[in-house]
């Protein structure tokens, strides 16, 4: 995949964080206010619009529109970002409406280095700049009012969408000031409110996107309806690397409602008046494939090769002291292999793209985490210039990393350019599941030792797997090291004087890999936290107490551990068959400690009883949003840990829909209590992926406590079957 002109900060930043030995260097990368350019007053159909920067628009009629550079996928970011802007702008949340940003360099996320929603970076990267954007706009509105009234700016106050002059009891609304504000210079320096003055930040207002989601009016990408639009169903070769050899065109066209069949070398689309025609048409087309070089590959082949590759040493991510020597000296020692499966994202909204491609330009209606890439994909596919392509971003029915992939948009564009009308191209659930780009399979070898008095004596962690970074963001590679593959392994909360962490890259031919909620930490924290648990049990120590001892130099770690200890009643007597497990981690600049109680029946059935999670993500913008993300993230991670794996047979993905790629259901979901222990002085942390990271290790450790069985391979549910156990 070719990528041009991407700023290099995303993974470089990660690298800096990894080698920086402690403080993340986020602030060094913050661009200040490069985007803050006062637009000239712009005449539109509705008249003058005050656009102090790329994020705020105020019309003379008083409509305040906030432009969202992040995709709303359920994480509540529309609300969180609006709160940042509104707090400083001086408007109430119910006075604003929000609009998705178009693809435009003005909306680059500086953590990601591009227009991207991912990596739990949105709030982190907006915390300062978007408040500054709001403050600058407010200052211009105040300046305009002061000028009109001939009073000092300092004598004016702004709140609730108005500027007040208490001295004369006069006030003007932002709408009334909009035109005058356009003539004000952009302030060179803005000062932000002290936290003590916040009226919005730190509260839990009603989310801005939810009302429309209760009555069917919310527009997801799949809901796009364009006049003259047709609807198509796509099927790509079920085996990666194969190609289309034939299909029954006449039969497909004979299906009532089918209007077209278009093909690519490796895929076919049947287009109809409606989705049903397209689906029936695809059945009739009965595509034939040459499955290509992966026609006989199975997951077992992939794992066998990975296992072999893991026997050689890899690129060194961290080398402190002498791990081998310390392991030799260790009082207790554990050598283990941990394995994590390929995973599909399975967002509830399947992949879809609506396009209208014309000789001189194109419109694209889609929900994407990367609008800039989406636009580039369409440009590459059609030969159109990017500036002639409009990407209309939509609400996303679940992202989880799936919509960081823009290849599906490129594929859709190559189909759509073959027809003249607008076309909505939908992947069926089966297509979405089998043609996903999967979270890599990881094969981790790990050895760890303890000294006589319970300190870590040697830690050697070698992870083997595909590198998503190398494909998706090659600039982020560091001399063969994929920082993501070792994130959560290279830096742990614990004191490890003798630590060696390596990465062996082994790319499966038959599978394309991609980011998945929690990225590196979801993988590595499972291994690290399971291993710490193993060490605790082997040396007869309480797992929570051992963590406190090993992380004694991390006050925020101790804080979340103490909180979750108290809230969960850690150590209390439990009914037979029950067990509690703990996981501690620091990911996305957030600390969290999670305790999960599980009950295992004699027949092997697993019941999740209760979860407590203590979270410190630095300053808090939207508390209820954080709680919701932790709850949802845990369910997402627990679903994976219990049930999910993607397997291949004869090059094909065996899981096709929710009957064989299982989702946790309401009647299995545990109660989840989230305890916020914020640190207003710390750097702000991400939250969307934190819960997911904690899920598998907390569950594995709880299952060990309940059964004495150490599960080192995900998923767990089938490993505890009554008859087999």
């Amino acid at each position: 995949m070719k990528r041009k002109n991407l700023p290099t900060s995303r993974r470089a930043l990660l690298g800096a964080a990894l080698s920086g030995g402690g403080g993340f260097l986020l602030s060094a990368f913050l661009p200040g206010l490069p985007l803050l350019k006062a637009s000239q007053a712009q005449d539109t159909a509705t008249g003058v619009v005050f656009m102090p920067n790329a994020f705020i628009r105020i019309t003379p009629l008083g409509a305040v529109t906030l432009i969202m550079r992040y995709a709303e996928m359920g994480q509540g970011i529309y609300t969180g970002i609006s709160m940042l802007l509104a707090e400083e702008l001086g408007v109430k949340l119910d006075q604003v409406s929000v609009e998705a940003a178009p693809a435009d360099p003005a909306y680059v996320d500086s953590v990601a280095g591009e227009e991207e929603t991912g990596g739990s970076s949105s709030t982190r990267d907006s915390w300062i700049p978007l408040r500054e954007a709001g403050a600058a706009a407010r200052m211009m509105l105040v300046a305009a009012a002061a000028q009109i009234w001939g009073v000092a700016e300092s004598a004016c106050q702004a709140r609730d969408g108005r500027v007040f002059h208490p001295g004369s009891e006069r006030s003007l609304s932002y709408g009334e000031l909009a035109e005058a504000a356009t003539h004000q210079p952009v302030p060179a320096k803005v000062s932000l409110k002290p936290a003590s003055d916040f009226t919005l930040i730190g509260t839990s207002p009603r989310r801005l996107d939810t009302k429309a989601k209760t009555n069917g009016s919310a527009q997801f990408g799949i809901d796009a309806q364009i006049p003259g639009m047709k609807i198509g169903r796509i099927m790509a070769c079920p085996v990666k690397g194969g190609h289309l050899t034939g299909y029954n065109r006449a039969a497909a066209l004979a299906v009532p409602g089918v209007v077209d069949v278009v093909t690519l070398p490796d895929a076919i689309a049947v287009i109809g008046e409606h989705m049903w025609a397209a689906m029936k048409g695809m059945e009739a087309a009965f595509p034939q494939w040459d499955y290509g070089p992966n026609a006989t590959t199975s997951t077992d082949d992939i794992i066998a090769r990975m296992k072999k590759a893991s026997e050689q040493s890899g690129v060194v991510a961290v080398k402190n002291g002498n791990a081998q020597e310390a392991l030799k000296q260790a009082h207790e020692r554990i050598d283990a292999v941990y394995e994590l499966p390929f995973l599909a994202h399975a967002p509830l909204e399947p992949i879809n793209t609506t396009l209208h491609i014309r000789p001189d330009g194109a419109d694209v209606w889609v929900g994407t985490q990367v609008p800039g890439r989406a636009r580039q994909e369409v440009a590459d596919a059609t030969g159109l210039r990017p500036e002639n392509i409009a990407v209309h971003n939509h609400l996303i029915g679940g992202g989880f990393g799936r919509r960081l992939d823009s290849n599906s948009i490129g594929q859709a564009a190559r189909f759509a350019k073959q027809v003249s009308y607008p076309v909505k191209l939908i992947w069926t659930r089966e297509e979405d599941m089998t043609q996903d780009q999967f979270r890599p399979y990881y094969y981790d070898r790990i050895s760890a030792g303890l000294t006589k008095d319970g300190a870590i004596s040697g830690w050697h962690h070698r992870t083997t797997g595909s590198s998503v970074t190398a494909r998706w963001y090659p600039e982020g590679m560091q001399k063969g090291l994929d920082p993501d593959a070792v994130e959560g392994a290279a830096q742990t909360p614990y004191g490890m004087p003798d630590q060696l962490v390596e990465f062996v890259r082994d790319e499966p031919d038959a599978v394309t890999t991609l980011w998945w909620r929690g990225v590196g930490p979801t993988h590595n924290v499972f291994v690290v936290e399971s291993m710490i648990d193993e060490l605790a049990h082997q040396s007869g120590q309480d797992p929570l107490a051992l963590r406190k001892k090993l992380a004694a130099h991390q006050p925020r770690a101790l804080k979340v551990l103490n909180e979750v200890e108290k809230q969960s009643g850690w150590g209390k007597a439990l009914p037979p068959g029950h067990g509690m497990g703990i996981a501690l981690h620091y990911s996305f600049q957030t600390w969290s400690a999670t305790v999960l109680e599980v009950a295992v029946e004699k027949n092997g059935s697993i019941r999740l009883v209760q979860v407590h999670s203590a979270v410190d993500c630095g300053p808090i913008v939207f508390p209820d949003g954080i709680v919701a993300q932790i709850q949802g993230g845990l369910i997402f991670g627990l679903t994976m840990a219990l049930y999910n794996e993607i397997t291949l047979k004869d090059g094909r993905v065996e899981q096709t829909n929710f009957h064989n790629y299982r989702m946790m259901r309401l009647n299995e979901a545990p109660d989840i209590q989230v305890h916020l222990v914020p640190d207003p002085e710390a750097e702000i942390g991400g939250i969307g992926e934190v819960g997911t990271v904690a899920a598998a290790p907390a569950l594995a450790n709880a299952l060990f406590a309940a059964t004495g069985k150490r599960l080192r391979r995900i998923p767990f549910a089938k490993q505890l079957g009554g008859e087999k156990a």
Partner: protein
């Protein structure tokens, strides 16, 4: 073929194949996109609508089987007393994340409360286990149903 469908109390004539699922009739013919496609095999519940007051999966309900019956979708659920309460409880409890499953969740919950105004946790388990929420809003769904029920009196 022509079918007379009664959707949200309005008679709509459609000319479609008899085996076409109501899901696609609603979305692609009638433009009612609140009803969602998630799996097409009755495993996720995203397409739940009411057929004569019963929650059904529109992805497997053929138009031939639905003709002549009352179809109610998310777009009109606010006009039922229970539906409006459920929607309000959903907002009050901030249930929703991405929202893609929530049309189906609200339709399923409304049907439950119409049949059992004061459901127990077991009733909720039984009625709601068929609806997947990939964002994991289950804890809040349960709470919101209890909340809506407490307003039922």
């Amino acid at each position: 073929m022509r079918f007379d469908l009664k959707v949200n109390n309005v008679l709509r004539e459609v000319d479609v194949p008899p085996d076409m699922p109501v899901l696609w009739v609603l979305r692609d013919i009638l433009g009612l996109t609140g009803t969602k496609y998630g799996c097409g095999v009755a495993q996720c519940g995203a397409c739940t609508v009411h057929l004569d007051g019963q929650p059904v999966r529109a992805c497997l309900l053929t138009v031939a089987a639905a003709a002549g019956h009352d179809i109610l979708t998310i777009e009109a659920i606010e006009h039922t007393e229970t539906g409006a309460k459920v929607q309000q409880a959903w907002l009050d409890e901030e249930v929703i994340q991405c929202g893609y499953c929530q049309s189906g969740q609200i339709m399923a919950a409304t049907a439950l409360l119409q049949q059992i105004p004061q459901p127990t946790d077991a009733d909720i388990d039984e009625a709601m286990a068929g609806n997947i929420c990939r964002c994991g809003t289950y804890v809040r769904i349960r709470k919101a149903i209890h909340k809506a029920a407490s307003h039922e009196a």
